[in-house]
């Protein structure tokens, strides 16, 4: 399924980058069409921004339901073996949704402490579990890993918190007209924020700065 969006920015490069961020895609996965070359004009007179149309091609490596289930199972087996060796009793649930195998670790009993340990500070241990799972699944199945590991819906809760904060900031900008710059975020988090801001009328968002200091800026729509 192709998705396409149009974006404008002072340069073609920035417009493409904004579009890629919104699509959550890499440059290799899209076709770019420049609709308007930017012009700087004279003292701002006659200046025009670059406008690009970016189309996300259907991903070639989209996996079948069977392949996703296989990946989910390999991931669950690996994580169960790991949990056993950590001396933890927890369940691992697999759910196939939107072309992704979601593998969630859930405590068997009321064992909050163990689950907190698996998430780690700022989710760092969870990211480590994700990384190891990605490598193991890639090795076993020979395909690109489409598994997302979670612990007690940590990712879901983080996302909900981020959406609430982005909405609040966007509404404040709409009310006061003053721009708001959020703290540095990774590409996934910025996409969540852009999607949320797009639902609030009268405001627009873009990103500025370089990774890992890249931040979302919310402004009133001119």
């Amino acid at each position: 399924m192709d998705r396409e969006i149009e974006r404008s920015a002072p340069s073609v490069e920035e417009a493409v980058e904004a579009a890629l961020e919104e699509l959550g895609a890499s440059e290799q996965e899209v076709t770019v069409e420049v609709l308007q070359e930017p012009r700087s004009g004279f003292l701002g007179v006659g200046a025009q921004p670059a406008i690009v149309r970016v189309r996300l091609r259907a991903r070639r490596e989209d996996l079948s339901e069977d392949e996703l289930e296989e990946q989910g199972e390999v991931a669950a087996d690996f994580l169960e073996g790991l949990l056993a060796r950590m001396g933890m009793s927890a369940d691992v649930d697999v759910e196939i949704r939107d072309g992704t195998a979601y593998v969630e670790i859930v405590a068997e009993g009321p064992d909050e402490e163990d689950m907190g340990l698996l998430i780690g500070r700022h989710g760092l241990t969870l990211e480590a579990l994700q990384e190891l799972t990605r490598v193991v699944v890639g090795r076993r199945t020979g395909a690109r890993c489409r598994v997302v590991v979670d612990v007690e819906d940590y990712r879901g809760r983080q996302r909900a918190r981020l959406v609430a904060r982005a909405r609040e900031a966007a509404q404040r900008v709409a009310r006061t007209g003053r721009e708001v710059e959020l703290e540095p975020m990774n590409a996934y988090e910025r996409k969540v924020v852009h999607d949320t801001v797009a639902e609030v009328s009268g405001v627009t968002s873009s990103s500025r700065g370089e990774e890992p200091e890249r931040r979302v800026v919310i402004r009133r729509r001119p």
């Binding site: 950590m86 698996l118 241990t125 480590a128 190891l132 490598v135 193991v136």
Partner: protein
């Protein structure tokens, strides 16, 4: 922890029989030394050291659960 590290390494390499973990403990904590086959070094280190970093993070979490301090050393 030793069993955990052995498990992780064996899941990542092509030659699980070559995986060897030595555990050294003193009053400051536990040092786990990991050895893998020469062709498998890259597998446990990963691009930019990502896999090695993930292994260390998980082993540290397991150690924390037992209230000890642990470090992982990868030997070639």
């Amino acid at each position: 922890m030793r069993e955990l590290l052995e498990y992780l390494a064996k899941e990542l390499v092509d030659d699980p029989d070559a995986v060897e973990v030595t555990e050294l403990s003193d009053d400051r904590g536990t040092l786990l030394q990991l050895r893998v086959g020469p062709d498998d070094m890259g597998k446990v280190i990963g691009r930019g050291g990502r896999t090695a970093r993930a292994i260390r993070t998980v082993v540290k979490a397991a150690a924390l659960r037992q209230g000890v301090h642990a470090a992982v050393e990868i030997l070639d």
